[in-house]
C-alpha cells in the first residue's frame, strides 16, 4: 500500500501500523508447517500491536493532531483516505483491548494441540476480523469502508463456521451470512447515493451535506437498515442470538463486544454528514432503542442457552446505546445542547462499558463450556466449586451489566437518567422523561436475568452429576478475564476517568464548547459517585467484620440445606433457571413464548413421563418465517416457466421478437 507520509510517526500512523500488524498476524502460522508456534507468534504480535495502537488512540483522545493518509490505489473509485478522529479513537480503544484479551484467551481456548485443523484458520481470520473492524473505523471514504465492512462480515462468518460440521452452527451461520449481506445492500444504496450527490465516495465534512428531502430520507433509512442490521437493532436482530451463541466464545466476545459497536459507529458517522436531520429521525432512533432494550432483555430472561442469553442481552445494551444516541439527536435537532451532551456521553460511556463487561461474560461462558462441555443452563449448578476463580470474575461481569453500583455499568445509565430527568424536569412536553421508567424496567429485568444466570450456573449444587467433575481454566484464559474485570471495577469506582475518555468525542460530535461540556457533564455527580462507591465498599467491610466478630463468638455448625421438613432432597429438585424466569416469561409472553410438551402421562399407572419446553421467539417464528414461506410458494409457481417443451421455448423467442416489434412502434 502506498502511504503518503507527511510527518514521522504520529498517533494515526502508529494506529495504522498496529492495524496492519494485527491483520497479518495470522500469516506466519500459515507458512509454518507445525501448528502452535504460529498461534503463539500471532498472539505476541497482536498484543504488542494492540498496546502500541492503544497508545496512539489515547494520544488522539488527548488532543493530538489527526493527520490524514491517502491510500492511492488503482481501483476506479479514486484514492481512499484514512484518518482517526476522537470518535474513531473512542471505538478503537476497546477494540484493541478486546484484541489483546481475546487473542490471549484463544491461545488456551482453541489450543493448536487440540484442533490442529482449525487453529490456523481461526488465528488468521480473527486477525483479519480485528483489522477489518479497525479499518472500518479509520476509513474516511465509502469504498474503503464498504470493503472493510464486507471483509469484516466474511471473516466473522468464517470464524463462526469454525465448527462447520455441526448442523446448528451451519444454520446459524447461514442466517448470519444472509442477514449481513442483505444489510450491505442497503449500504450500497447509501454510498451510491452519496456518490451521486457529492460526486465522490469521500466522506463529506461533518454537517456539510444539504440534500433534498427524499434523498435524505432514503439515505438515512438505508444507513439505519445497513448499519443497524449489523448492530442488531430490534427488528433486524434475527441473526444475532444464533450467531453469537454458536461461535467460539472468544469470537462471540469480539462479535458481541466490538462488532455490534462498529454498526453503531456506522450510524453515528453516517448521521454526522447531514447538515439538517429530519426531526423524526432522532425520535425513531430513540424508539427503536427503547424497543430493543426492553424486548432484548425480555428475550434474554427466557433463554436456557448460556450464550444465547448473553447474546440477547447484547440487543438490550445496543438498545440502551441507541436510547442515548436518539436522545442526543433529538437534542441536537431541537437545539437542546444539554440533552445532546448527556445523551452522547451516556451512549459513548455505555459503548465502552459494554465492550468491557460483555467480552468478560462471553469469555467466562467460554470457561464454563470449557469445563462442562454444555451450554444448557438447566444442567449446570454449583460450578463455583469447580471454577473458583472464574466464578467471582463472572459475578463482577453480571453486576456490571445490571448497571449496579459500584461497577461501571451504572455510570453510563446515570447520564441517560440525567438526560431523562432534566428533560422531565424542564421540558414542557417531557416525552424523553419516559426514558427513565423504561430504563428502570430494563434494569429490573436485567437483575432477573443475571441473578438467574449466575445463580443457576454457579450456585447451588450440580443438577447434572456428570458436570460435577470439570476443571478450572488455565491461566491464559483467566488472565484476560481478570484484566477486564479489574477494568470494570476501576471504571466503576473511578467514574470520572470514563468521562475524560469520552469528552473529546462528545465535544467534537455535539459541536459544543469544552466549557459548556464541563458545565453540563460536571453537573453529573461523578466525584460524589466515586466517593459513595468507596463508602459503600467501606460499609460492606465494616458490616462484614462485625458479622465475622459475632459469628466467631458463637458455635458454628454445618448441615444440609433445610428442606422444610423434606428429608431427601436431590439436586434435581433445585429451582432451575427456566423455573426461575417462568414467572416473568408468563408476563411478557407476547414477545417470547415457551412451548411446553408433557409426554406420555396416561393410564392408571403412568410410566415415567418427561416434560420438554422450548423457548420460541415470536418475531422470527410468527412474522419472518411465514412471509418467507409465502414468497417461496409464489416462486415455485413461477418456476413452471421452465417446463422442458422445446416448441414453446422457440415460441418464447418469437414472442420476444413480436413484443419488441410492437413496443417499438410509436
Amino acid at each position: 500500500m502506498v502511504f503518503v507520509w507527511n510527518i514521522d510517526v504520529d498517533p494515526v500512523s502508529s494506529l495504522l501500523w498496529a492495524i496492519a500488524l494485527i491483520g497479518l498476524s495470522g500469516l506466519p502460522g500459515l507458512l509454518l508447517k507445525r501448528p502452535g508456534p504460529g498461534q503463539i507468534l500471532s498472539v505476541c504480535i497482536t498484543a504488542c500491536a494492540a498496546l502500541w495502537g492503544m497508545a496512539g488512540a489515547l494520544q488522539i483522545l488527548g488532543g493530538a493532531p489527526a493527520t490524514r493518509y491517502l491510500l492511492d490505489w488503482p481501483l476506479p473509485f479514486g484514492p481512499s483516505e484514512l484518518s482517526v478522529d476522537p470518535l474513531s479513537a473512542l471505538f478503537l480503544l476497546p477494540l484493541l483491548l478486546a484484541a489483546l484479551c481475546c487473542s490471549l484467551y484463544g491461545l488456551a481456548y482453541l489450543p493448536a494441540a487440540g484442533q490442529p485443523a482449525v487453529e490456523k484458520r481461526v488465528t488468521l481470520f480473527s486477525g483479519l476480523l480485528l483489522a477489518s473492524m479497525a479499518l472500518v473505523l479509520v476509513a474516511r471514504d465509502g469504498l474503503l469502508l464498504l470493503i472493510a465492512w464486507e471483509v469484516m462480515a466474511l471473516s466473522s462468518w468464517l470464524l463462526l463456521m469454525t465448527d462447520q460440521q455441526n448442523l446448528q452452527v451451519q444454520r446459524a451461520g447461514t442466517v448470519y451470512l444472509l442477514a449481513t449481506h442483505t444489510g450491505s445492500m442497503a449500504l450500497y444504496v447509501f454510498f451510491a447515493l452519496l456518490k451521486g450527490e457529492t460526486g465522490s465516495f469521500a466522506f463529506p465534512a461533518a454537517h456539510s451535506l444539504a440534500l433534498g428531502g427524499t434523498v435524505t430520507l432514503v439515505m438515512l433509512v438505508a444507513a439505519l437498515i445497513g448499519f443497524g442490521a449489523k448492530a442488531g437493532i430490534m427488528p433486524l436482530h434475527i441473526w444475532l442470538p444464533g450467531a453469537h451463541a454458536n461461535a467460539p466464545s472468544h469470537v462471540s466476545a469480539l462479535m458481541s463486544g466490538i462488532m455490534l459497536k462498529v454498526g453503531i459507529y456506522g450510524i453515528i458517522r453516517a448521521v454526522s454528514f447531514f447538515q439538517q436531520l429530519p426531526v423524526w429521525f432522532g425520535w425513531l432512533v430513540l424508539l427503536l432503542g427503547a424497543v430493543s432494550a426492553i424486548t432484548g432483555i425480555a428475550l434474554a430472561s427466557a433463554q436456557r442457552d448460556l450464550k444465547r442469553l448473553l447474546a440477547c442481552s447484547s440487543i438490550e445494551n445496543i438498545g440502551i446505546i441507541c436510547i442515548g444516541l436518539g436522545m442526543a439527536l433529538v437534542g441536537i435537532q431541537s437545539g437542546d445542547r444539554v440533552l445532546a451532551i448527556l445523551g452522547l456521553a451516556g451512549a459513548f460511556i455505555h459503548i465502552i462499558n459494554h465492550a468491557l463487561f460483555k467480552p468478560l461474560l462471553f469469555l467466562g461462558s467460554g470457561a464454563i463450556i470449557h469445563a462442562t462441555g454444555t451450554r444448557q443452563i438447566d444442567r449446570m449448578g454449583g460450578l463455583s466449586r469447580i471454577l473458583p476463580r472464574t466464578a467471582p470474575l463472572f459475578l463482577v461481569g453480571s453486576l456490571a451489566i445490571c448497571g449496579l453500583p459500584p461497577l461501571n455499568g451504572f455510570v453510563g445509565e446515570l447520564f441517560l437518567y440525567f438526560g431523562a430527568f432534566s428533560d422531565g424536569m424542564l421540558a414542557d412536553l417531557p416525552v424523553i422523561g419516559f426514558v427513565a421508567p423504561v430504563l428502570a424496567l430494563v434494569g429490573g429485568l436485567a437483575v432477573i436475568t443475571f441473578v438467574k444466570l449466575y445463580g443457576a450456573v454457579f450456585l447451588g449444587v450440580p443438577r447434572d452429576p456428570e458436570l460435577a467433575h470439570g476443571h478450572e481454566s488455565p491461566l491464559a484464559m483467566l488472565l484476560p478475564m481478570g484484566l477486564l474485570a479489574g477494568i470494570c471495577l476501576l471504571a466503576g469506582i473511578g467514574a470520572p476517568l470514563l468521562l475524560q475518555l469520552v469528552a473529546p468525542a462528545v465535544i467534537q460530535y455535539a459541536g459544543v464548547s469544552p466549557l459548556l461540556f464541563t458545565q453540563v457533564a460536571g453537573a453529573v455527580p461523578l466525584q460524589q459517585l466515586a466517593l459513595l462507591n468507596g463508602l459503600l465498599l467501606a460499609v460492606i467491610l465494616v458490616v462484614w467484620l462485625s458479622w465475622r466478630f459475632l459469628v466467631q463468638r458463637a458455635p458454628l455448625a454445618s448441615s444440609s440445606t433445610w428442606g422444610c421438613g423434606y428429608l431427601a432432597p436431590t439436586p434435581r429438585m433445585q429451582y432451575t433457571g427456566s423455573a426461575f424466569s417462568e414467572l416473568i416469561t408468563g408476563l411478557i409472553s407476547g414477545l417470547v413464548g415457551t412451548q411446553g410438551r408433557l409426554s406420555g402421562l396416561s393410564g392408571a399407572f403412568p410410566a415415567s413421563a418427561r416434560f420438554v419446553s422450548i423457548t420460541t421467539e415470536r418475531i422470527l417464528d410468527q412474522m419472518i418465517i411465514p412471509s418467507l414461506q409465502g414468497a417461496d410458494w409464489c416462486l415455485a409457481w413461477l418456476r413452471r416457466m421452465q417446463h422442458g417443451h422445446l416448441h414453446l421455448y422457440i415460441l418464447y423467442v418469437f414472442a420476444t421478437l413480436f413484443v419488441l416489434m410492437v413496443w417499438s412502434q410509436p
Binding site: 417446463h643 417443451h645 422445446l646
Partner: protein, 213 residues
C-alpha cells in the same frame, strides 16, 4: 427475368403450403430440396453473370438441393424414423395458420419502406411468409427431424430476403453461412441419430426430463 423470379417465388410459397400439409416425411424432405434448388436459381435471374454469382448458385444448389436432403434422408434411414410427420395440431389448422401468416406477410410487406426497385416484387412477402412457415413447422411438429426441416425453411426465408442484396454479402460470408448451415444440419443429423438410439424415438415431446420441478 425479374417477373420469372416472381413466379418462382410463388412456387416457393406453394411449397411452403405443401410442407405444412403433407404427412409423408420423405415427401417433405423432397419439397425442401426443391425449394432449395429454386432459391439457388433465382440469383441467376436477378443479377448479371459473374464468377461470384456462379459460385453462389452452384454452391447453393449443391448444399440445399443435394447434400442437406441426403443428410436428412440418411438420418431418417439410420434412425428408422416412422414415415409420418406427427404434428401437435392437425394439418388443416396448420394450413389455415400458414394461409393467415402468408396473407399477413403480404399486408406487412406493403407497409415496409422498400427501395423503389423492390416495391412491386414478391421477395419481401415471400421471405416473411417462408420465415413464418418455418416457425410454424418448428413449433407444431413433434419429430426432431421435422424441426430440422423447419429450421431449413426458416433459413430459406432469410435467404430470400438476402437475394435482394446479394452484392452486400461478399462471397466469403455467403460461403461461411452456407458452410455453417451445412455443418449445423450435419450435427443435427448426428444428434437425431443419437436421440433415436437413446429414446428409441425422435419424438421431441419425449425430451422433457430437463425441467424445473
Amino acid at each position: 427475368m425479374v417477373s420469372l423470379a416472381d413466379q418462382l417465388l410463388v412456387l416457393v410459397m406453394l411449397i411452403n403450403f405443401i410442407m405444412l400439409g403433407s404427412s409423408r416425411m420423405a415427401f417433405v424432405i423432397r419439397a425442401v430440396a426443391a425449394q432449395g434448388v429454386i432459391l439457388g436459381i433465382i440469383p441467376g435471374l436477378l443479377h448479371p453473370f459473374s464468377g461470384h454469382l456462379l459460385a453462389i448458385t452452384v454452391s447453393i444448389i449443391l448444399a440445399k438441393g443435394v447434400v442437406i436432403p441426403y443428410l436428412l434422408n440418411d438420418a431418417v434411414r439410420k434412425a428408422q424414423i416412422r414415415r409420418e410427420v406427427e404434428p401437435f395440431i392437425g394439418y388443416v389448422p396448420t394450413l389455415l395458420l400458414g394461409a393467415v401468416f402468408t396473407a399477413l406477410a403480404f399486408v406487412f410487406a406493403q407497409k415496409l419502406p422498400l427501395a423503389p426497385e423492390h416495391r412491386d416484387l414478391l421477395f419481401v412477402p415471400a421471405s416473411i411468409a417462408t420465415l413464418m412457415t418455418g416457425f410454424l413447422i418448428l413449433t407444431t411438429r413433434k419429430k426432431a427431424i421435422s424441426q430440422v426441416i423447419g429450421y431449413l425453411v426458416l433459413e430459406n426465408g432469410i435467404f430470400i430476403f438476402g437475394l435482394l442484396l446479394a452484392e452486400a454479402m461478399p462471397f466469403m460470408v455467403e460461403a461461411g453461412a452456407l458452410l455453417d448451415l451445412l455443418v449445423g444440419i450435419f450435427v443435427m443429423g448426428i444428434v437425431i441419430n443419437h436421440i433415436s438410439r437413446e429414446f428409441s424415438t425422435v419424438d421431441t415431446s419425449q425430451l422433457q426430463t430437463l425441467r424445473e420441478e
